[in-house]
Subunit: 336 residues, 4 copies
């Protein structure tokens, strides 16, 4: 970590800053130029609060040399992490296809979709039992009842289940869930991150609405620092000024994350744009960019399922996407 | 709510959409132009999921006519809400000055600061016991022990206490806290919002890192829909592309919120920029823009409190700000 | 266009607004609900200033039904536009590979690169003679001299030339240039747009740093409204809050633009991230998303060309990208 | 400037980078840590292209120690710049009130408004003759004819004139204009910046739609590097994700700019939000934040001037704003 001191700093304040830094267990490599003092901080800087340093009046800039995350850092863990889920795996060259409805509604609905997406090539089933909704007046999901329906669909098809957890108090009900999803709005719900960090279960960590890549990896680090290293990152679009799509899918984060971390990265093209007709092209693009998987909203009966119908695609459309994905995978050195 | 249908929509799909809308308890006022069909939705549209409608393939645009929030809406509650806290109040012309350290550390520290800010004009004491930190390796606050120290400071000075709640499981420990703060990162932690909605205690709801004004009001609505109407909104800077400040303080939200809602709006100039030298000018600007109060980080001993020292201002600087604020208040029709 | 009137509007103000709208040559279809007046504007609304309408005090919201662009609109021109450049073409299923250095420097350099990229599969040569630089102290390009060097390279290889125009006064010097590039910073330099609109030459119009898709199409419309319909749109990354990449490449704009306009869309993966190691994966992703071409910075001699070397890739790396692109093209129904 | 080298860099590449840096006239202060090589660049780094350095594959991060602007830098010019315009001045404690209509329309209109705003306290007259419009189909201003009308209003009232220049070819027509405005969309029209840099006339430089503070100062530097040092910066709102206002007014840039530059900073509250009812509170807030002036849209006859009427305020409302501003000025140590 490198601190550039402002020109007008008093020596007394510089000395105080140096004492503070040393009190954090770091050594200082000082270099004085003609007009500028630069402090190089040597040691484990991952615990240093960079915002605090930046806010000090005598500080001009602070630059990290070491990343603030360790467990998630590829430097200390060069091999790809491979997350095993049932008979399938995510990462390390294996591509994962997770599909299912926005919300779980009835046994018929979820079992029907589960069978349809399995036939079309899905390797896991997604479905919301607890739904984070912007409005308190919107349907909030079936809750524990929804989890039971997902388990029925798992039994019927053998597909492992991915579903979202919103409240630490619900953890016991997730015992038979295969992968716990942490949603975008909870990416910095540190309480929730710590609790899933204590579980022995894969966690699918969605990127926050306007999270930087570093903040996202720090949230993964929260989970890992509690002992759970089975994390899958999921890009789902970021908030920008552009109104034509709900969010802007940031596919360049995929190769960047592959550099910075050993954790697999999948993409959710359904939530990113909010437009089902963009799901197919963005699924192919994500695959070509090097993603380790896709999580796609699929509904079974467009005529009677307006709720998750419109933003989702049909099993037939999903099958078309799987076809395209399969053709791209060998080009980027991956396999289903 | 107005739905514009795409030119190429089939009549069968339009009919299905109309059935769906009617199944939500709404009436439809249809108008067919030369080339465009427009559906006006009449009735209570607050429960309608606008993102879902937008995602329907035959839909071109959806425009809300009614706001999706009711309890927070000034249309249905024209008078300013006044939130009473101890002997003081927020809103309705009363200006609130909340000050204190980033983190509670020792009894001497918090009591010392409490006395200093009270003398300088503060009407409430802030201080963090549970700290939301980006890194799992950063100091996470004293927790319940910190709450006890805040209560000692309250006893010594009479200042009501504002402090952040992060976990529903900690609610019992907040019984004697005067105002519960919901932090920016938890603004859409709907579980937490619902639980504080069941309390009989003012809630200071910070704006999320990249929350729109409408999303923010919907989070207030979550709390209010559970029965707790004592809410203070707090602008603390939004995420933008500008790197010179940590966040961009959005002061235009103040007059806009005064139009849309009856809830008081205060401003946190300390967290917005992350630069203590901007706290004074932005405090004056927020007051001139019509804010109902300020929440400012103040530390007492800059020589030995590097932790929250640098991003905070001293009690002397705070006194200078209070002086300026007092001169501006009569110009904007408010009083301390 | 639909105008929703605020509840508290006076009839006199509504009448005045209606007179104003009618004075713009539009008819009004008024519908009065229980609590809301809605004005439907019928006629050619492309000349209506939507920002002006939005700023009127009695107006709650304004929603466009018709797009404000006509010439660029696919509704009125359903077939893909095909832009012919020399023996090659862009759009209508033909994929274009434009490559070359950031800046033109010497005859040896530009001829060398031109030959290398042609061999690797490029269909056009790019190179900067006039360089828009953030700093007045940076190298601003060779200017007219650079154009001459590009023409030498064209003669030697037969590759058509793409290069940026910044000043209307330089237009005569661009007579033998094949495609005129309008840079991101000039996307709303309306003076420049109108002048290139008078030429009979393809224009490559880069998306502005933070331009919405609609603003971008309106800039295309500026050019087209003067008579020049040979426009190629070029996505090059948008400004977001994320610091890890210089800009965020918005690939979802590709399928969206294909819906809204008949103009071809290409992608510049070099400028988007500012990181040469992301060029390959983002080139494949753009191709899979349905782009009509790529424009890539390639340098020839990394050992002695630090100026544009580092942000560019080598001809060998470019050849690898072309290989991957060629494999993806049939999957998305395109050909080189 | 400090370059942190990636851990996996080869010595040969580091040596090449060092040669390149030295070829730019800079000396290198190298420091090798346990795992990291850091290069400190000593000398005049204002000409160094930081984006180029960042894009080099062996480079981890690059941090500026010196600002890239010199003429605009307060470090080298500690006193406030004072810009004289007619009998009035901007900066150095003098507050400037610029008012007038969006567009110049008729002699009666502009003379009428000029008299009205002068009476209300304005020190300069603004008005658009050349209008940058998003749509080619919108009214583009009266052009040279509009300039003539502005000069009539100047003669009648003595108010100096501020008006926008969009095209270098129009410069001769601006000879009698007092202050040339460069609009947000032209902030990085480097051709235009260089030409106004050759004039002996104050320039009002608006912040670009999504310009960083550093980019904005670099655009000022462009003008200054040609010899014209009479620059007034004008904040007018930046592009963010928030849809409730057209742009987000960034008032924290005012104290920040006062630190970084000696140039005066004024605020345009009319264009920022696009809502005339926010003009009054944001004018007071900008004044309290330390602005050196305001530029406000005022129209005279709301009943018959729908064109610029609605987004503007009336002379009576302007007078109310001037009253409030006058009361705040002594609190922040400024005078009209």
């Amino acid at each position: 970590m490198i601190i550039v001191i402002r020109n007008d700093a008093k020596q007394q304040d510089i000395d105080q800053l140096k004492s503070y830094v040393q009190s954090q267990g770091l050594r200082i490599h000082e270099s004085e130029g003609a007009s500028t003092t630069i402090l190089g901080l040597v040691g484990d800087t991952s615990k240093v609060d960079i915002d605090l340093l930046r806010s000090i009046n005598i500080v001009e800039t602070v630059t990290r040399v070491q990343e603030p995350y360790k467990n998630a850092n590829r430097k200390f863990h060069p091999q790809d992490s491979v997350i095993k889920v049932g008979d399938t795996q995510i990462g390390g060259g294996a591509f994962s296809l997770i599909a299912g409805p926005c919300s779980v509604e009835t046994p018929e609905q979820i079992v029907g979709i589960a069978k349809a997406v399995k036939k079309a090539g899905a390797t896991m089933l997604r479905g919301g039992a607890f739904k984070p909704r912007t409005s308190p007046y919107s349907f909030q999901g079936l809750g524990v009842e929804g989890l039971k329906l997902l388990l029925i669909a798992k039994k019927e098809t053998g597909l492992p289940i991915v579903t979202e957890l919103m409240d630490t108090r619900d953890i016991p009900a997730f015992e038979d869930v295969d992968v716990i999803q942490i949603g975008a709005r909870n990416m910095q719900n540190f309480t929730l991150l710590k609790e899933v960090g204590k579980l022995h279960k894969p966690v699918l960590l969605k990127r926050g609405l306007s999270a930087t890549i570093e903040e996202w990896l720090m949230s993964a680090e929260y989970i890992m620092s509690e002992g759970n290293e089975q994390i899958v990152l999921c890009e789902r679009g970021i908030r920008t000024y552009e109104p034509a799509t709900r969010n802007t899918l940031d596919l360049s984060c995929i190769p960047l994350l592959h550099e910075k971390t050993h954790l697999p990265v999948i993409v959710d093209p359904s939530h990113a744009s909010g437009l089902s007709r963009l799901v197919a092209p963005m699924s192919l693009a994500a695959t070509a960019a090097g993603a380790d998987g896709l999580i796609i909203e699929v509904h079974n009966d467009p005529q009677h399922a307006w709720c998750d119908g419109p933003q989702a695609i049909t099993p037939e459309q999903f099958e078309g996407i799987v076809d395209g994905v399969k053709k791209i995978l060998p080009i980027v050195g991956k396999r289903l």
